[in-house]
Symmetry: C2
Subunit: 254 residues, 2 copies
């Protein structure tokens, strides 16, 4: 079992400049917090062959694949069809979702139409993940090779609701051995990124088992240290060394 | 010559939830405006083999590949090395960039360090694209197979400055035949997406050569019609039909 996940977002509007895609950030943050890792984030157009090949390649690389978008009632919503074709599965109508859609529409003073009930279409092997804030449900599809495919609606509030209510709890239980990386941050100000590098290189600073990330912005530099929980001591030592080496440049009141 | 482009953004911070990646939206918008099309947007970690394979696959699919991030002076900045390895090219120091970096640092009351001058490293065949708002320049690399690779720094203000100042003008000249799609928008309110679909389906509305996108939010639905400029008449007809069919639901005062 590996701890890596990929995200594939589907939608022409994400590639034309109309809509900013925030799923990668939100999913990356949610997975990191439980010790899993988003290892690739891909956005593709509403095109059945492209969806098929992109999902297939992701399932080759990692155990967990998230697909978002294209689950609505309109003709540009083709994700279900693309996945059914790729996986050789039938599309079925999920009756509890039909009932849910009826009451969802009634509450809004509307009648559920045939078009609306298209959103109750799921893959035959799907575990349906009810959507508490919108119409189309999510789906968890456990494949014969042990890999798991999650299918989520595109609107960020629906994506995030199903993720936090239905998927993260399942992942925490299923990947109970996963442990989040330890992260610590050293913030500096009034010194450039390359001057920091010079100081660290002259001091021979090259911590083992600790990843360093440098994020400059507006006269400040954030240094992020990341380590596996087995290497907590090395992380703490690296952080202390940075504090010593950069003592005159620390941004302590952030 | 095809009109499709792919973007590959590099950086662990884009996959951990630390940083929201806005390049896909900005590049997608800029390319659409000149008749080119962003056809895939991929974010990957700071890892040399992953960068190599992702860029290689993108160059297989399309004529224009944009790579962003990992061009700073620190040890997590490995994009140049990954591309040099993939393309079998040497990395050289661009002397005009060294001079620029010297004056850039001097203006900020700092001395340019050896670490800082790493940002003047470019691929041997690169056309250097000066950065008017930051340190590391962009690069345009024209490959023997007629494809073009653009390399851009990660910070959005630098990415966008080099894009608009150096790359879009070059693309407009090089792809002078490209014509932007025609786009028009019909906005509705007080009617659900699936009710709109029902109305359109009952009327047999299925315009040829016009792509439809439905974007619901907060009681409103935006319908975007997109067509090749050869099909302007069909786009106008489709828009007029939508106005008739949805006449009681139009959101005219947006």
């Amino acid at each position: 079992m590996n701890f890596q996940a990929e995200l594939i977002s589907i939608g022409n509007e994400l590639l034309s400049g109309r809509t900013l895609n925030t799923h990668g950030r939100d999913l990356g943050e949610a997975l990191s917090a439980i010790g899993l890792q988003l290892s690739r984030d891909t956005t593709i157009p509403d095109d059945i062959p492209t969806i098929g090949s992109a999902v297939d390649e992701a399932l080759d690389r990692v155990d967990l694949v998230f697909v978002s978008g294209g689950l609505g009632p309109t003709i540009d919503d083709i994700t279900r069809d693309a996945l059914a074709k790729l996986l050789g599965q039938k599309i079925i109508i999920d009756q509890p979702t039909v009932e849910y859609l009826k009451s969802w529409y009634e509450k809004r003073g509307r009648t559920v139409t045939l078009a609306a009930t298209r959103q109750a279409q799921v893959l035959e092997s799907a575990n349906v993940l009810p959507n508490s804030v919108g119409a189309a449900p999510g789906q968890r599809i456990e494949l014969a090779n042990g890999k798991t495919l999650f299918v989520l609606p595109g609107p960020p509030n629906e994506f995030n609701a199903i993720l936090s209510e239905k998927i993260i709890p399942w992942l925490k239980e299923t990947y109970a051995d996963a442990r989040p990386n330890l992260v610590s941050t050293v913030r500096t100000k009034g010194i450039g990124e390359s001057d920091i590098v010079t100081i660290l290189e002259e001091a021979g600073f090259a911590p083992k088992n600790v990843d360093l990330g440098f994020y400059p912005s507006m006269g400040k530099v954030e240094i992020r240290l990341t380590a596996n929980p087995d290497h907590e001591l090395q992380l703490v030592e690296a952080e202390q060394t940075l504090h010593k080496l950069l003592t005159n440049h620390l941004d302590l009141f952030d």
